[in-house]
Amino acid sequence: MSTPTTVSAADTVSNAAATPDRVQPFGALGLKEDEYLKIREILGRRPTSGELAMYSVMWSEHCSYKSSKVYLRQFGDKVSEKMKKNLMVGMGENAGVVDIGDGWAVTFKIESHNHPSYIEPFQGAATGVGGIVRDIISMGARPVAVMDALRFGAIDDPDTARVVHGVVAGISFYGNCLGLPNIGGETWFDSVYQANPLVNALAVGVLRHEDLHLANARGVGNKVVLFGARTGGDGIGGASILASDSFSAGGPTKRPAVQVGDPFAEKVLIECCLELFRDKLVEGIQDLGAAGISCATSELASNGDGGMFIELEKVLLRDPTLTAEEILMSESQERMMAIVTPEKLEGFLAVTAKWDVETSVLGEVTDTGRLVINWHGEEIVNVEPRTVAVDGPVYNRPVAYPAWIDALQADSTAMLPRASTPDELRAQAVALLGSPNLASKDWITNQYDRYVMGNTALSFPDDGGMVRVDEETGLGFAVATDANGRFSQLDPYRGAQLALAEAFRNVAVTGATPVAVSDCLNFGSPENPEVMWQFSRAVEGLSDGCLELEIPVTGGNVSFYNQTGDVPIHPTPVVAVLGVIDDVANRIPSGWQDEGNNIYLLGI
C-alpha cells in the first residue's frame, strides 16, 4: 500500500474522496475486482479502509449468502397455509420462531463452525456453541438446550484424535459451563472430512409470545449500546480477511485467526439480556457474530429507520493497539448490541452493572438513511446500511451435472459379494459392530451435561432429545438432527430428503408432532459447478420434502468451501426437525424396558 495509515490517522471519507487512485487490498480481503468496483460505484468514490473492511466481511459468502440466496428462496416460496400457521418469525431473522400453544413459542437454529474447528478444535467448537446461543438470546428467548452434529475424518488417521477430542471437549466445556443440557446430536467418521471436519451446533430457546423481540434500530435518538466482553484481536485473521499488506504501517499485523470463548461471560450475558427484556429496557438486541460490529451496526440500521451514528473510539478494547478497521472486523465473542431509548438508558446500565457486564454507549439512531462511523472525530465510514447488509452481490453460479455420478449410482450394493457361510456372516457382523460409526457414542455424550435445568425428558441414547417447557402442563418440544453425506453424494436431492425424513421420524417416534425445520447445508466450493449442482439439488429436495410433509424451514445456515485441496466433502445437508408434545409425561423412550411388550416392525 502506498500510503499506509496508523491507529491515530485512519483513512477518512474526505481522504478517500481526495485520493481516488490509491491501491486497495480488496483481493486479500476476499473481494473480487467487480465487487470492489461495485462498492466504488455505490459510494461514488473509493471506499475508506474502514468501509472496505465492512463490505469485505459483509459481502463474504459466509455473511451474504451470495451463492446460495437464489436457491434458498424456495424455502419461503414452497409453503402451504398450514405451514405458515404456527410460524411467528420465518427465515431471515436471527432464528425462526414457532408457536407451540398456551402462549409459548420455541426458537431454534443450527449453524456451522467448521473451519475454525479444524484450526483450533477446542476453541473453534466452543465458540460455535456460543455463537448459536447468542442468536437465540437476541430473539428474546431463554436458551434451554443444545445439540451438536459432528463429522470427522477417518478414525485411524493420526490427526483425527486431535480434532475429535478437541471438538468434543470444547462443546462440553462451553455448553456445560453455560448450563444448557445437550440433548443429542450425531457423530460420523469418514475420510472425506479429514482436513475439513463439520461442527454444526444447534440451540433451542423458549419464550412467551409477548417476549418476542426482533433486532432493529428504530426511533431516532435511541442509543446504540455495545455490551458484554471487550473487543480484542480475536478472529481478525479469520473469515476471508486480513492480509499482510492491509492497514497498518510497520509491517504485517500478526493477528490470530481464532477466537477464544468465555462461556462464563456468555452465561452472565444471557441472564443480563433476559433481565433487560423482562424489565422492558431495550427496543432490540443483536448478537455480534462473524462480522462483529460491521454486521451488528449495518444490520440493525437496515432493519430499522435506516440511519445510525457511531463513535468507534467508544468501543471498550482489550487490546489498545487495535486499528479502527480491526475493531470493525473483530470477532471477539460474548458481545451484544442493543437499541435503548434515552429514558431507559439509566435502567439499562443498572442491569448491566448488576451483572458486571461492561457497557459503552457508541452512538444513536438517526434519520439520515446513512450509517456514519467516526473515529476520534473523523468520519471513516459513511454508507447506506442496506448496501452493506442486505443488497450484497447475488450470484447465479454455473452448475454442472457431475459426470461421475452415473457410474457411482450404477456401482450398487447388488454388485457386492454376499456372505455365504456362517463364518462370513459372523465376520461381517463383527466388522459392523466394530465400525466407529455404529459403535456407542457414550464416550462423547458422557462428557455432556444432560441434567441441568431439570427439564430433560429425553436425551442420549434416545432418537430425539425432548425438553419440558411448561412445568405446570408438561408442554414440551423434541428435536432431532440427521444427515447422510454418502446418500447425498449418490443423489443430493434424495439425500436431503432422506435426512429430513430421518429427523422427522426421530421426532415422531418420541411422541411429538414435527412442526418446523432448520438446516445447515455443508458443501464444497460454490465456484465448482459440480458442487453448485449438488447444492441446487439438495435445496430443491429439501424444500420439496418440506412441502410434502407440510413443515416449514424456519432458518439455517450455509457453509461452503468445505474441501481439502480441490476435493469437496460429500454434500452434507444436516436437517434438524422440531416437534411439539402436549405433555412430556407421554414421551416414548427408545429403549424397551417392560417385559411382555410386543415388538412390531413398521414400514417396508
Partner: protein, 231 residues
C-alpha cells in the same frame, strides 16, 4: 420452612435446587451472592454450576462473595448448609469443610448416573436415609476428585464425617471413594453428585423399575426439613 438457594454469577443448578426444595415441601428462597442478607432462611443450599466460569479454581472466586460472610457465620452457628458440586467446592475453598477438589483423574468432564452409599445418616441432610442406604443420583463434573492430607482423611474416616461413598465406579479418583463429607457437627454437608436432579419422576436417573424415575435425591431435602422441625 424456608430454604435459601444462593445464586452466584455462573450458578447453573440454582433453579433446580429451588424446585427440589419445593418438591420436598419447603419454601425455596432465592438469595443473591452480592448481598449481605440471608432473608431469614432456616437452611442454605449452595448450588451446582460453574461460578465465575470455574476459573482460577472451582468455587474459589465465589467463596470471596459478600454473602459468604453470612453463610460462614450461619454455618458456624449450626444452620444446615448443603453444598452441591460447585457448592461443595465453595465450602472447601471457604474452609467450612476440609480437603479440596481437583481435576478428575481421567481429565475430562463426566456426566453419569452414580451409585452411592450413604455412610452417615446423622447429618442435617441425610437423617431420613436408612443407615448404609444405596442410592443413585446424577454426577456431572470436571473437577470432582476429593483430596486431603492423610491426617485429615484419617480424621474424616475415624469420626464418621465421610457422608457418601462412590459405589461400583469411582468417577474422579477421589481418595477412599469419598463422594461427600460433613463437618463434625453434621450441619454442613458437601458432595459432588447432584441430589436436586433426582427429585422428580421423569427427569431423574434411570432405575431398575423405569427410565428416569429415580428420586433418591428428595430425601436430602426432606432430611433438612426434618432436622429443622426436630431442632
Amino acid at each position: 420452612m424456608r430454604i435459601g438457594v444462593i445464586t452466584f454469577p455462573g450458578s447453573l443448578d440454582d433453579r433446580d435446587a429451588q424446585r427440589a426444595v419445593r418438591l420436598a415441601g419447603a419454601e425455596p428462597v432465592a438469595l443473591w451472592h452480592g448481598e449481605h442478607d440471608l432473608r431469614g432462611v432456616d437452611a442454605i443450599v449452595l448450588p451446582g454450576g460453574f461460578s465465575y466460569g470455574d476459573y482460577l479454581r472451582c468455587g474459589a472466586i465465589a467463596s470471596f462473595s459478600p454473602i459468604m460472610a453470612e453463610v460462614i457465620d450461619a454455618a458456624n452457628s449450626g444452620m444446615p448448609v448443603l453444598g452441591i458440586c460447585n457448592g461443595f467446592q465453595m465450602l472447601t475453598e471457604a474452609h467450612l469443610l476440609p480437603g479440596g477438589l481437583i481435576r478428575n483423574e481421567l481429565g475430562s468432564f463426566i456426566c453419569r448416573d452414580q451409585k452411592l452409599r450413604v455412610e452417615n445418616v446423622n447429618t442435617a441432610w441425610t437423617n431420613q436415609f436408612e443407615a448404609g442406604a444405596e442410592i443413585t443420583i446424577p454426577l456431572k463434573n470436571g473437577e470432582g476428585g476429593f483430596i486431603a492430607d492423610a491426617e485429615t482423611i484419617a480424621r474424616l474416616e475415624g469420626e464418621g464425617q465421610v457422608a457418601f461413598r462412590y459405589l461400583e465406579v469411582n468417577p474422579n479418583g477421589s481418595i477412599n471413594d469419598i463422594a461427600g463429607i460433613s463437618n463434625a457437627r453434621g450441619n454442613i454437608v458437601g458432595l459432588m453428585p447432584h441430589p436436586e436432579h433426582a427429585t422428580e419422576e421423569g427427569f431423574g436417573p434411570d432405575t431398575a423399575a423405569a427410565m428416569r424415575s429415580g428420586v433418591d435425591g428428595l430425601t436430602f431435602f426432606t432430611s433438612a426439613i426434618h432436622a429443622l422441625i426436630s431442632a
